[in-house]
């Protein structure tokens, strides 16, 4: 009864049908893991799937399919099924390999797809002798037996191919087992059995409790080693879905220097870490350089160049006020990337935490199209083909890769915990012969940065923009500006007082609206109070007024600094337009100051991956056996040739485990060969198609 069930289970698990079902399920499950991005932060999934599906998919393990319990179960069944298949096939296969089938009956030989009847010209004894010699020469091992119907020469070749079956299928078991050892199963077992608990990532190493630490004896792990330049560490951080574990390494690793090299076109060329490894027990120190594709193995632990980050670059910053009526530098700041500081001002009534998140000394960007107006003269037809003849060295001629200098990112977090992120460049960027300083902002990590472009004045400074902005937006200076603007347009003493007064009136109103939310409020005003047909004209007038006011602000500023007044020319008009556009944008900037980077001291940190993979030798051995096995199975052809010698006739029959067309050809050749040595005429082909 029991053995009946066990037998049936064995049959099922070792059956081809079951194996094929498993392979299919495994394929489909694998697809799922490529469609849903794996191991992202949970928030990302919540956004993507919504509150209803998020927990469902979480339960199903879709965020980490290849570590999910059900996936491992499929793999385990595959290993089991393949193992049982091997077990089941071993005896018959070995029998097959050893057997010559010398008891084959004539009737069964006559039913072979490949058979022929030869009429030898030599006596029976000679026939046997010659046929045997022929078979040996053609690479067959053979047996001679009397099967009662005649003398049967049973020959075979290529049976070694069956070993391929054991190699390939055994290899699959090896690879799966090795893979399991190197996966995160051992780690999860330790968490489960060894009373280990993950902890959160953002705390000091010293504060991490013993329960979240793994000793140097841990046989299998994969973790990140983060080392800033000039520092030393002896830990790897293992990330799990719900937190981290700290893996102690048997050595200390110090980073002397991290190298980043670029090709001329800005593509990365080399990432390398100069490290010193000190063995903690012997105290011996060795120096190494780890690069991508050039890992280092120490004490059975392999270190790879995985990525790099900022390791605490020092930034010297001026916070230039964006508060109307309070021009100048609010504060000088010495920041360190990765750290934060309080940024508050009681009089202005703001209080933020300033968090420096990143610094990049190089930014290579494709500046193509920044000037606009391209693409119309793109070559067509034969010209286009012409351009693509010749060497592969020339590419897109309109590409314009440029290093646009250092940049840094920071977050301003308000007391409620809300943060905005900013991305500021240190150096101005040229666009159509005008120069701008770029500063980007975004409200959420998932958004792209929106950039505000602060125009530079003729001396290459942003001072003018700040001065003009301050005067345009400061209510206290509005009357002065409006008065001067109206007076310049309609000088006193020419009987234009009424017009001057009217202009001053509109200018005051325009400025008031612009000071609220820039072009947005002005646009809203036009839409509300001007009939549709006249809106374009009205907008022109308002913009003209704004330009006039801005020019006035500029002149006023130059007077206070003791500089000569300027003539308005087209270049300056463009500058004023850019200035007004940036001022309008600055209403949405959401920060009390613009942080100008004056100097920096760069410091990298390398991220190495440290692994101990006990399964690797198994997997590599399995891989080797797999290749050998597959080639053996596919390309060592098993052939069995039978010659049943009877008085006056020899029946030749052949079988093969691979029914391919070349079996026909091989059989024909053997029949011809045998016919020749036996002095028999070559019979007309009598082999049926190998269905």
């Amino acid at each position: 009864m029991h053995s009946g069930i066990a037998r049936a289970l064995f049959e099922l698990l070792s059956s081809m049908r079951f194996a094929i079902s498993l392979l299919t399920i495994l394929s489909i499950a694998s697809v799922v893991g490529t469609v849903v991005r794996q191991n992202e932060p949970f928030n990302a999934y919540l956004n993507q799937f919504g509150p209803f599906w998020f927990p469902v998919f979480e339960k199903l393990g879709l965020y980490s399919v290849y570590n999910a319990g059900w996936f491992l179960v499929i793999l385990a069944f595959l290993v089991l099924s393949t193992t049982l298949c091997i077990v089941r096939q071993t005896a018959p296969m070995l029998r097959e390999m050893r057997s010559f089938r010398e008891r084959a009956r004539e009737a069964s030989l006559r039913s072979f797809a490949h058979r022929a009847i030869l009429v030898p010209a030599v006596p029976e004894a000679d026939t046997i002798e010659r046929a045997r010699a022929y078979l040996a020469h053609a690479g067959f091992a053979s047996r001679v037996a009397d099967n009662g119907e005649g003398t049967l020469l049973a020959a075979r070749q290529g049976s070694a191919g069956r070993i391929g079956y054991f190699l390939a299928h055994g290899a699959i078991v090896l690879i799966c087992v090795g893979g399991l050892l190197d996966g995160n199963l051992p780690l999860r077992l330790q968490v489960w059995l060894g009373d280990k608990h993950t902890t959160t990532g953002n705390q000091l190493i010293a504060d991490i409790p013993e329960s979240a630490r793994l000793g140097t004896g841990n046989p299998s792990f994969r973790g990140d080693v983060f080392i800033p330049e000039g520092r030393t560490t002896s830990f790897a951080v293992l990330g799990l879905a719900d937190g981290i574990l700290l893996q102690e390494l048997p050595f200390n690793v110090a980073l002397d220097k991290f190298h980043i090299e670029h090709y001329e076109n800005g593509m990365p060329k080399r990432f390398a870490s100069d490290i010193r490894v000190t063995d903690r027990s012997s105290g011996k120190t060795t120096q190494h350089t780890i690069e991508v594709n050039r890992p280092l193995t120490v004490d059975g632990i392999t270190l790879y160049q995985s990525s790099f980050e900022d390791g605490g670059s020092r930034l010297t910053i001026k916070a230039r006020s964006l508060l109307p009526g309070r021009p100048g530098v609010l504060r000088e700041i010495e920041g360190v990337v990765g750290e934060s500081l309080a940024f508050a001002d009681a009089t202005a009534g703001f209080s933020y935490t300033l968090e420096f998140t990143d610094f990049k000394a190089f930014n290579v960007e494709d500046m193509r199209g920044s000037e606009g107006g391209q693409g119309d003269d793109a070559p067509r037809g034969m010209d286009k083909l012409q351009r693509h003849l010749g060497s592969g060295a020339k590419g897109a001629e309109d590409r314009d890769m440029r290093n646009i200098g250092p940049s840094f990112t920071f977050k301003l977090r308000d007391p409620a915990g809300q943060a905005r992120e900013f991305h500021n460049y240190m150096l101005p960027i040229e666009q159509g012969e005008r120069w701008f300083l770029y500063t980007g902002l975004r409200d959420a990590q998932a958004d792209a940065f929106r950039y505000m472009r602060i125009p530079l004045d003729e001396r290459g400074s942003v001072d003018s923009w700040f001065a003009i902005r301050d005067r345009l937006l400061d209510p206290a200076q509005r009357d002065t500006l409006v008065g001067r603007f109206a007076a310049r347009s309609f000088p006193a003493g020419r009987g234009q007082d009424a017009m001057r007064e009217a202009l001053a009136q509109s200018a005051r109103q325009t400025l008031g609206l612009f000071a609220e939310k820039g072009y947005e409020t002005l646009g809203g005003f036009i839409e509300k109070s001007v009939p549709e047909a006249e809106r374009g004209q009205a907008a022109d007038v308002l913009v003209r007024i704004l330009q006039g006011l801005a020019f006035e602000a500029w002149t006023l500023h130059r007077e206070t600094t003791g500089e000569a007044a300027l003539e308005l020319n087209p270049a300056r008009a463009t500058f004023l337009n850019d200035t007004i556009a940036a001022i309008s944008d600055s209403h949405f900037y959401g920060a009390p100051a613009w942080l100008q980077l004056d100097a920096f001291e760069e410091r990298h940190a390398t991220v190495l991956q440290a692994t101990r993979s006990p399964g690797m030798p198994l997997v590599y051995l399995g891989a080797l056996l797999l290749v050998l096995g597959v080639f053996a199975m596919l390309y060592i052809r098993e052939r069995r040739l039978f010659v049943l010698v009877k008085p006056n006739e020899a029946l030749v029959a052949m079988s093969s485990n691979r029914r391919t067309l070349d079996v026909d050809e091989t059989f024909r050749q053997h029949v011809e060969g045998l016919a020749a040595v036996l002095g028999a005429p070559v019979p007309a082909s009598d082999s049926r198609e190998g269905a």
């Binding site: 094929i20 394929s27 490529t34 991005r37 030599v122 790879y304 003849l389 060295a393 269905a691």
Partner: protein, 403 residues
Amino acid sequence: MEIARPSPRTPSPGTPSRPQPPVLPPAALAPRTPLLRRLDALDWLYALALALGAAFALYRYHTAMDVYDDLILVLHVPVLAVIGWHWKPFRAFLAAVALLALASIALYQGDLARAEQTFLLKYLISSQTAIMWMSALIFIATGAYWLGLIGRSDFGERTGSALTWIAATMGTTGLFVRWYESYLLGPEIGHIPISNLYEVFVLFTLMTALLYLYYEGRYATRRMGAFVMIVISTAVAFLLWYTFTREAHEIQPLIPALQSYWMKVHVPTNFIGYGAFAVSAMVGTAYLLAARGILASRLPALRVLEDVMYKAIAIGFAFFTIATILGALWAAEAWGTYWQWDPKETWALIVWLNYATWLHMRLTKGLRGAVLAWWAVVGLLVTTFAFVGVNMFLTGLHSYGAL
């Protein structure tokens, strides 16, 4: 021994007497004459040329090569020799490629600008031009094969076959010259041209064409060409689109992850697999049509089509197995993990499992016919997704080929 000197015939009673056929020594008749004994002078000349070429390259360029490069170069000699001995036209192909590539290098004189100034370079054997020739010839060859098939014209098929050979020659030359050009751009930029989607599409075209030409010779029929050329033409069409709209042909230096000798073995092996799967799918398509009586009288017999389909999948599977393993070895070195379920890896596994199942169905279940042909066609869809789809739709570490 006695057999070599046959004893006089002693007819047994009852055997009708008939003319005595010559009784030859078995050695002369054994069907498997060892390969070496079947070689003619040309074969030896070919092998000698290979060995001398490799020796010259070692002598001349060993400073630019590391020990793996040396090893791979040396291993190429026996491998290419055996391929050429088994498949004679390959010798002429390789000789033509060598001559054209060397001519191109000679014309360059170490100066990239000469690609624009020298007529032969500009219009024949600079890398871009050679690849353009390949593309044009593939299209014309496809047309010729179809004319041959529809018009039952042997001439059409011969033309198609010849043009495909020339296309493969030009394409291979193009890749070799591109390799050289990359070094002219700068020693630090130079690398084997199999590092981005553009280059591997050329490689795919070549591999598929050569594999097909092999089967064409092996089965002595040009009738499958019309179908196989469809998939090659499609690849070429994509290649041209990619060149003209994305300027993808520009030689780019290698990012650090690709600076590995594993790339040099992993990628070509992979494309033997992809190419063979493509051939099998197109032959499968021909099978499906012929099985329904469409073009049946013009196509080879069903059992021939089925046999080619199996052979192609077998060779594809074997090489794809190696390629996937090489990829894992490379990943272990570059990323620290031989397998991390990156989408490209996962899809490679799916492709592999798919063909493993196909082989099981045929070899252990004895399945034949339309089901396997359909399966081969679907297999190409899966393969195509693994090849380009993953780069287009999924994100992962294999981002070198983003569209």
